[in-house]
Subunit: 212 residues, 2 copies
DNA sequence: GCATAATTCTGCGTGCACGCAAGTTTGCTG
DNA sequence: CAGCAAACTTGCGTGCACGCAGAATTATGC
């Protein structure tokens, strides 16, 4: 139903994208983030270096994409999945927090590597921008009477909050190894994300139910 | 008082930065944004091309900086200048809106040129990120008991709202010339910014006065 | 099945960002 | 004033993003 026509063409594109992501992450983990050239990734995926940039617009993007993958769609789905009774604020907050809980074991060491390189950290933090549009759509679907601009602003605000939390956490985990005493000064990532999104709950609720 | 020691060194640096900004904007206005090379800007400012990248990390940044300039500090000052009686929400909103009202005549045509190039638009939109840190400081100064993370999140949210408003407005003004009928479909920029920040006011007020 | 239109991949060239290692200027101190 | 250390500038080399145009591949009409 949702997949109208797989189409040989489209499938090949997704395969290439997947191959690039995987190769990028593998090489980065093996050789270290700074010892991987774009040409290497392209070669490992069996395409031209030029083709790499038809799929990803920066060297770091492919590596990060291997970890981020379908996050945007998942957030939107999670918001839609919350029962209609709970307020918009709780629904969005729980959906976002859920995205950063129970990371797989493999993802955890990848995250640690991303911590290594400033460029990778910046790129990873920027990926949360991708949730804005799907999230706005989900918000509109939940509250059809909401002003589209408001939905967009609130989604962007949530994205910004997640960005702040992620930045804090990445910095904290990077500093940690030097200080043997404290492991994670700021607590776990899900807790941090929750704490960051919580201040926005009043705004979300206010927009979600105008007559309350 | 605040300026401890200007110092010959620091003055030269600011002069170079200013020269680069000005030259960049002038050349961009004269030749069109896409017909200006970094080397040209550097030459016009009398420095090496390499030095250019010691001050600005992208070609567009210098052009945009000529328009943006001191915006970040002004927002922080504007927040601090609001009387202590008004709520945090109103104070921040008015301060941000004030930044985008009564643009100079010269700035207005520069804005129009920025509309021309996608890269410039993206860069200009990204500059609002710079207000986050000063704004967070101003918020903390206003509400000393606030959680620093909350202040940071709210500032980032406000920045995101401004970003959305700016994006909308830039897109709208770009589409406008093709449609002779409508000039600005979405209204004036200050109104748009106000409308974008308003949904966040409940969150700001909630954080600003916990006991209300 | 085949011709044709639409996409995608690829090589090439250009402009750009940035690390590195001198060379130069500035600020401080004896 | 001499001399030293820190900061800034500059040239060079490398890797990268992306526009462009031609070849290769896929979809579509007959």
């Amino acid at each position: 139903m949702t997949a109208e026509r797989p189409g040989l063409r489209e499938r090949k594109k997704q395969a290439t994208r997947e191959a690039l992501r995987t190769a990028a992450l593998r090489l980065a983990m093996e050789c270290g983030p700074d010892n991987v050239r774009v040409d290497d990734i392209a070669a490992a995926a069996g395409v031209s270096p030029r083709t790499y940039n038809n799929y990803f617009s920066s060297r770091e993007q492919a590596i990060v994409a291997a970890v981020t993958a379908e996050r945007a769609a998942q957030v939107a789905a999670a918001v839609a999945a919350r029962p209609a009774e709970v307020g918009l604020g709780d629904a969005v907050r729980d959906a976002v927090v859920g995205q950063y809980t129970d990371q797989g074991d493999h993802a955890r060491e990848a995250l640690l590597m991303i911590t290594t390189s400033p460029a990778l950290r910046a790129c990873y933090v920027d990926t949360v921008t991708a949730i804005e549009e799907p999230l706005a759509d989900a918000v509109i679907a939940r509250c059809p009477d909401i002003d589209p601009l408001t939905a967009q602003v609130l989604s962007a605000a949530v994205g910004a909050a997640a960005r702040v939390a992620l930045g804090q956490w990445l910095d904290a985990t990077r500093e940690a190894p030097s200080m043997p005493g404290f492991v994670v000064p700021s607590g776990s990532l899900p807790d941090l994300v929750r704490a960051a999104v919580t201040p926005l709950v009043p705004a979300l609720d206010a927009a979600g139910s105008p007559r309350a």
